[in-house]
């Protein structure tokens, strides 16, 4: 029996919500029991561009149990869509049911509401729509030629300075559109409890964002909008936006005066909840004979929709990782008759990083310098090359060295195609990635009961990142209260506000709040305790020690006062504290980044085009690791996502018909269990002393930024074919 070679696991107790998830008890958005609920199904446009001229709903309405059918001709008014100006300033994107324009195939144009899901689904299939079709364009490769580039960020140095660089690589890179496809399809149960009061059970990554968006659109106070997102079945960015279907459910519920449940179908997920847009890039990189980079010229274009602009920020990462004098970046967006794209795991950076890290690998062969050495020579380890501020911490060089050692990099051959066994060729590849480590303002509250049980609360969602478990660990570390007495409540809008879970900011933001509220709890308890023992009057946070049943001064059981005592003396039922925390002046002194090095060993079958990954290693600098097991899981999961991005993920588009095809989980492939080796994860584990009180930097993105080039570079090392377009499917391997 083989055994797993992952990081040492100290934590055996599992996640706080573990039992709910393994027993099926945890309720995801569409799973709450809401009395008198009815079902809604969206109808999509059948053409990619044009105008709706009429609906024929005769047949659809004959279906038993149909309550109503919403269209732009028949729906409650959305105040935030009352004028074109309001639509634009709402920044909602598609003004669902408030336009007769069709911008893309699959655009939701009607909503059937019925007593049962079966009836609503059947009725939706009978809705007939007449259109006046207009010309469309969905072909990114053709359309991008017509869009000019403009400067993306400030130019550093000058192009002329490295015009005569002795070693250059200049190549183009194309990546097909990828789709988030969280396993839980987006869903909303909308319930109006009064004319201006709304309860939503919704799949999203940030309940406060949902509240704000709908308060603005519906012109009702945000306090009147209650959002439950206690269990979120993945997001990867798709839940950072509020999408039209959620508004459709709200309008439907208004119209039929009943709670409405709407779950998107899987094909509707492809055109309804964003995607990573198709991209084109051109990289020119120059180096001197020693391998020191002299300059990079990075150009990028990404697809967007006709009704909303989206710039993926592809060239951003080029400013972050390496130290060199001359940088010029240009970008453009290419509007197409497709739905709006959005941030997807490692947005922009994992696209840009593929091009940069592929080009550097190519350069390493030209220079005759080992790719590991070439990275170490050029990494910007001390200072952020863009802001010139010192990195608070950056151990990417250590990540590279640890990864190289772990995969036995010395066994890699410096020339491709040297490790051959029959039809199989083995290769090694590596790449690095980095991500600006952010932090937002977040609040948390603690409720403490007489028996010492505390409940830590925040509105932040846990989309699988282990936020809740991390909060338990932080609260335990800060207060001393044992983990089994710490409960978590999150993902609900009435809890203390927090930013959305995304961009690797979740734990970084909320951890500060949990530390702050834990300290506030200590002080609050000391305040009560002071009436019994004066020593607590002036006690500082670090002098107050909390245990299972009481507090002590400076060391355990010194001046011990039990919670029961405090509760009795003060006539308490519950002690409640709330605190906020956010970034401060440290951001003027330092730059912050998370980073990772990715290593890969694989073999390629030169007869069949099959790629078999043998080892994937990811070593990350995420500051302090608050929860080893969940953090390793997140890293390895991101690497699995990276395998998909590299080898198989592609949203196919029929450029003649103007729409997506094969838009389901049989047609759009992402990695199954068999595609991934056991991913090996390691952490540097050194706390960042400045980013937040815990020293934890985010990890969600760096696990996927660099996976694709590591694999593509290994394929080159195996067979000597350089793939600059993703995905690298078996057919491309054979014909490449």
């Amino acid at each position: 029996m083989e055994f797993l070679n992952t990081i040492d696991k100290k934590v055996k107790e599992g996640r706080v919500e573990g039992v709910d998830k393994v027993t099926g008890k945890g309720k995801f958005a569409a799973e709450y029991t809401v009395e008198n609920v009815c079902y809604a199904v969206l109808v999509g446009a059948n053409i990619p561009a044009g105008k709706i001229t009429s609906f024929n709903l005769d047949q659809a309405k004959q279906v038993s149990g149909v309550l109503d059918i919403l269209t732009h001709l028949h729906r409650p008014e959305v105040p935030g869509f009352a004028t074109e100006e309001l639509i634009k300033s709402s920044r909602f994107g598609l003004p669902i049911f408030h336009t007769d324009q069709v911008y893309f195939k699959g655009q939701p144009i009607a909503l059937v509401i019925a007593d049962t899901l079966e009836d609503a689904t059947y009725s939706a299939s009978l809705v007939e729509v007449q259109y006046a079709a207009t010309p469309f364009r969905v072909d990114f490769d053709a359309a991008r030629e017509t869009v000019g580039l403009t400067e993306a960020g400030k130019e550093r140095g000058a192009m002329a300075a490295w015009a005569n660089a002795p070693h250059t690589v200049e190549e183009e890179y194309n990546i097909k559109s990828q789709v988030h496809n969280p396993m839980e399809m987006h869903a909303t149960i909308a319930q109006w409890t009064a004319n201006d009061r709304l309860v939503l059970h919704d799949k999203n990554q940030g309940v406060n964002n949902v509240q704000n968006v709908f308060a603005n659109l519906l012109k009702i106070p945000k306090e009147n909008i209650e959002v439950f997102s206690e269990f979120v079945g993945g997001g990867f960015g798709s839940g950072l936006r509020v999408w039209p279907h959620a508004l459709a459910a709200i309008l439907g519920a208004k119209q039929v005066n009943r709670p409405v449940k709407l779950m998107l179908t899987r094909p509707q997920m492809f055109a309804g909840t964003g995607y990573r847009p198709a991209s084109w890039q051109k990289i020119k990189i120059g180096a001197d004979a020693s391998g020191k980079f002299q300059g990079i010229f990075h150009q990028a274009k990404n697809a967007t929709s006709l009704y909303e602009n989206f710039n993926d920020g592809i060239t951003r990462v080029t400013r972050l990782i390496y130290d060199f004098e001359n940088l010029k970046a240009e970008a453009a967006i290419v509007p197409l008759n497709l739905s709006a794209p959005t941030w997807m795991r490692g947005p922009g950076d994992c696209t840009g990083d593929f091009a940069i890290e592929s080009a550097i690998d190519e350069l390493s062969y030209k220079l005759g310098i080992d790719p590991v050495e070439l990275r170490l020579k050029n990494l910007a380890i001390a200072t952020n090359p863009e802001t010139k501020l010192p990195w608070s911490t950056n151990f990417l060089n250590e990540c590279v060295m640890q990864g190289a050692e772990r995969i036995n990099w010395s066994e890699r051959k410096s020339q491709p195609g040297q490790l051959v066994d029959g039809d199989w060729s083995t290769g090694y590849g590596m790449a690095v990635g980095a991500w600006n480590a952010g932090r937002g303002n977040a609040s948390a509250a603690i409720k403490m009961e007489r028996d010492g049980t505390i409940t830590v609360q925040t509105a932040m969602t846990d989309i699988g990142t282990g936020t809740g478990t991390g909060m338990v660990n932080i609260a335990h570390d800060t207060t001393g209260i044992p983990k089994e007495k710490i409960k978590i409540e999150l993902g609900h809008s009435s809890l203390p506000p927090a930013p959305s879970q995304g961009g690797s900011n979740g734990l970084s933001s909320v951890s500060g709040a949990v530390v702050a509220v834990s300290l506030a709890l200590k002080l609050k308890l000391a305040e009560f305790a002071a009436s019994q023992n004066e020593i607590y009057k002036t006690a500082k946070e670090e002098e107050i020690l909390l245990s299972e049943n009481g507090l002590s001064f400076q060391k355990n059981n010194q001046h011990f006062i039990s919670y029961a005592d405090i509760w009795s003396k003060n006539g308490l039922t519950m002690v409640e504290v709330e605190a906020s925390s956010g970034p401060g002046t440290e951001r003027q002194k330092y730059s912050f980044c998370s980073s990772a090095a990715h290593f890969c060993k694989l073999k390629v079958n030169t007869k069949t085009g099959k790629v078999k990954l043998e080892r994937m290693i990811c070593i990350a600098d995420g500051g302090k690791i608050v929860n080893d097991q969940a953090a390793a899981n997140q890293m390895s999961g991101a690497a699995v996502g990276g395998i998909g991005m590299t080898l198989m993920e592609e949203q196919q588009i029929d450029t003649r018909l103007g729409g997506l095809i094969a838009d389901d989980l049989a047609g759009y492939h992402f990695a199954v269990n068999a595609d991934a080796p056991i991913i090996e994860v390691g952490f540097i584990g050194k706390p960042d002393p400045n980013i937040n009180p815990t020293g934890a930097k985010g990890l969600g993105e760096v696990g996927i930024i660099g996976t694709a080039p590591a694999i593509a570079n290994a394929i080159y090392n195996a067979i000597g074919k350089r793939f600059r377009d993703l995905p690298i499917t078996p057919d491309k391997i054979l014909l490449g």
């Binding site: 729409g659 094969a662 068999a674 057919d731 054979l734």
Partner: protein, 325 residues
């Protein structure tokens, strides 16, 4: 999904008697329910034949008889299949997922419909789904489409893995019609090429049921392989697949069978390559030559030219695997 009536039937004769024009038999349901949800199949009446037909796998002197209702998973665990017809088991294991294999029936596997994305998308033209509406794949996204035996009307491929093995092993399909008349269709004649009637996948008469599939005994127990190339390692339809079987005397090939999925509207036999191999030594050079012969007549479409190289490689590799697996 369109409403329908549902009736459970207890034997084949009653099933055939109950069948009307817009009736549909259901067994595993793994394809039919999917198609009904997509409004591609719209039966008015669904007849459940799961207990009406045999699920037995019987060994008889001249071969093996697999009941229509034998689950795909049964073909991967049955001792007779594993011992005497291992190619069948290998092919089944390359298809779908364990859950689907537990549900899907043998007869249903033969009757599953193409996975051409246009067939599945009711907003597009498809002659197989809606006769005379056109073929969107012919000049569309046809990377997965046929490279041989197609027509202007349809370039879809048959999605089954099991059927590729059954084609290679010269299986026979036993059927029964509404007059209780039993007859046999040889496997090669069971599935059709699209021609001008791409809506018809096979030659099963309108009012008939598959009762069992027979595989004649053969000498391929020791040397067979099923190789499937797909966009991911598992749970995906084939770009191309190859069923290969050799009967050897020492190192000489007495008989060879080669069939492929992912290349045509029906499981495709490479007869010329088989004929070439007969009597030859089982060497890499001969396997390569057989592969070359096989792909000579391919006529790839705009986006599936790669299938030629891929098939060539896959056939040679599968033959090689016959010697080791």
């Amino acid at each position: 999904m369109r409403p329908f009536s549902f009736t459970k039937i207890d034997n084949a004769a009653n099933a055939l008697a109950a069948k009307k024009e817009k009736s549909q038999f259901i067994a595993g349901g793994t394809n039919l329910v999917d198609l009904m949800k997509k409004n591609i199949a719209q039966p008015e009446q669904v007849l459940d034949v799961t207990t009406a037909l045999s699920s037995e796998i019987e060994d008889f002197t001249k071969g093996i008889r697999i009941g229509a209702m034998a689950r795909n998973s049964a073909l991967t665990t049955n001792a007779i299949v594993l011992e005497k017809y291992p190619l069948v088991s290998k092919a089944v294991l390359a298809g779908a997922s364990p859950q689907i294999r537990n549900m899907a029936s043998t007869a249903g596997n033969l009757l599953q419909r193409t996975r051409c994305p246009y067939f599945y998308d009711v907003t597009t033209a498809c002659n197989k789904r809606k006769p005379n509406s056109g073929c969107s794949a012919l000049e569309g996204e046809n990377r997965m489409s046929a490279v041989i035996g197609y027509s202007e009307q349809c370039v879809a491929v048959h999605p089954s893995d099991l059927c590729v093995a059954l084609a290679a092993l010269d299986a026979k399909v036993n059927i029964e019609n509404s007059k209780n008349k039993k007859s046999v269709i040889s496997f090669g004649d069971f599935h059709r090429l699209p021609g001008n009637e791409p809506n018809r996948d096979n030659n099963l008469p309108e009012n008939a049921l598959i009762t069992s599939v027979e595989i004649p005994s053969n000498g391929f127990q020791k040397h067979s392989a099923y190789l499937k190339i797909r966009d991911r390692d598992s749970y995906a339809f084939a770009l191309v697949s190859v069923a290969a079987a050799l009967e050897l005397q020492g190192t000489r090939i007495v008989a060879a069978r080669l069939a492929s999925g992912g290349v045509a509207h029906k499981p495709w036999r490479w007869y010329d390559a088989e004929a070439f191999l007969k009597g030859k030594e089982a060497t890499a050079a001969n396997f390569s030559e057989a592969a070359n012969i096989a792909v000579q007549d391919l006529k790839p479409l705009a986006h599936n030219g790669f299938k030629k190289e891929m098939l060539q490689g896959a056939i040679a590799t599968a033959l090689q695997q016959c010697l080791t697996v």
